[in-house]
């Protein structure tokens, strides 16, 4: 690969890391099409690079999000219980279930969630509730400092069982299809558990690295991760994610949703098309 190609991949990766850090997703939506369509790189290696980019986005952004109290570590750890067991179940089922059907189903779920997102576009904060039942027992209630509003914002998770089941589904999908499913995680936390958008995004970011790390070993062992290709991707994504993590605390929740919504729609359409055999 020439230095020019590396520089172009590096630049695109910065954008992927930035968007990923803000939207709570891994940036695979940008990395995979860019590598395959613009640079003619084998889809297998492109997906290997995107797994690395998910981990780079997650760790690069989470270092700041954890320190700035944007990430809720209890919510993240509790839900990782769902995503990791879901991912194992998915990996075991992968040989049995037809991927095409799954892609279509997931695509419809994501586009359906996009409609729900449109309905919440103007909303800055979910309605405040007292933590009750499971949320209180599991301590899924906290507060975060909102630099934009200039105050501490308390929040409590609602509909914990629904959130857990959605997260299990997100893990299942990752295990079955080998994708990060960050979008589904944000939907579960924002839509079902009604956590503030910034907390949902930052906590999803925190979690996707663990989901991706669980499957990264498989990709590495299969020879799908080419370090000469991944070097500019990882460096670019890390830079972008660190930049994004500096921006998010200062953004309004409703503006974060404006970043997330188009990402959700694009992922939904990509997934649906894949189910019909179009694209990768």
């Amino acid at each position: 690969m020439t230095l020019g190609t590396d520089a172009a991949i590096f630049a695109i990766s910065i954008a992927a890391g930035l968007i990923g850090a803000l939207a709570g997703v891994g940036g695979g939506i940008l990395i995979v099409p860019a590598l395959t369509l613009l640079f003619g790189i084998d889809i297998r290696l492109a997906i290997g690079a995107s797994i690395v980019s998910v981990i780079a986005t997650s760790s690069g952004a989470a270092a700041a999000y954890v320190r700035d109290r944007m990430t809720d570590m209890r919510v993240g750890m509790f839900l990782e219980l769902a995503t990791t067991t879901g991912a194992v179940a998915g990996a075991l089922l992968a040989a049995i279930v037809a991927p095409a059907f799954l892609y279509v189903l997931l695509g419809l779920v994501l586009l359906g969630s996009a409609v729900m997102q449109v309905l919440r576009l103007g909303e800055e904060m979910p309605p405040e509730v007292e933590p009750s039942g499971l949320a209180a027992r599991l301590r899924l209630a906290s507060s975060y400092p909102d630099a934009r509003l200039g105050r501490e914002v308390p929040y409590a998770a609602r509909r914990v069982p629904l959130g857990f089941v959605l997260m299990w589904g997100a893990g299942l999908v990752s295990g079955l299809l080998g994708i990060g499913s960050g979008a589904l995680k944000v939907v579960a936390m924002d839509g079902a558990m009604r956590l503030p958008m910034k907390v949902s995004s930052a906590t999803s970011n925190f979690m996707i690295g663990v989901t991706a790390a669980a499957s990264a070993g498989i990709y590495l062992g299969r020879g799908d991760v080419d370090p000469t290709l991944v070097a500019p991707v990882a460096l670019g994504v890390l830079a972008g994610a660190m930049l994004g993590a500096r921006l998010l605390p200062r953004m309004a929740n409703r503006h974060v949703r404006w970043v997330f919504l188009p990402v959700l729609v694009v992922i939904g359409i990509q997934t649906l098309l894949r189910g019909f055999g179009v694209g990768s």
């Binding site: 750890m77 990996a91 690295g209 663990v210 669980a214 070993g217």
Partner: protein, 128 residues
């Protein structure tokens, strides 16, 4: 849970600082190794060696030559090492959280995090 605060040996803020430091250290180490590998590749190519060892015969996607490659100062081995550190960072973060919740005195979350760590390590090492 707040009742046994006297047992807490780690405040939530300290806990966060430690987890954040683990993530930052992992990311910076990975980026440094990758950057060094990339810079070296401009001198001798990815498969070459700064010690003039013969050009690597294994594919860059083959991580089994990582250690010998590092000793031979092969650029590709440095990029591989950067990747391994990057991939290990989330696992280290979960392991750190186990200790953190323990020191915070939250036994429920020690159990939850241990379960996640066990599943994670199982899926990384048992699948092969």
């Amino acid at each position: 849970m707040t009742g046994d605060a006297r047992q807490d040996r780690l405040t939530p803020d300290q806990f966060r600082a430690v987890v954040s430091a683990v993530l930052r250290t992992g990311v910076v180490t990975a980026a440094a190794l990758t950057t060094v590998g990339f810079a070296m590749s401009l001198l001798v190519g990815w498969e070459g060696s700064l010690l003039d060892a013969p050009t690597a015969t294994s594919a860059p996607t083959d991580f089994s030559q990582l250690l010998s490659g590092l000793l031979a100062l092969r650029p590709v081995a440095f990029a591989q090492a950067g990747l391994v550190v990057l991939l290990a960072t989330p696992v280290l973060r979960v392991a750190t959280s186990v200790v953190g919740f323990w020191l915070e005195g939250d036994r429920l979350y020690v159990a939850i995090t241990l379960a996640v760590l066990a599943i994670l390590l199982g899926s990384i090492f048992l699948v092969h």
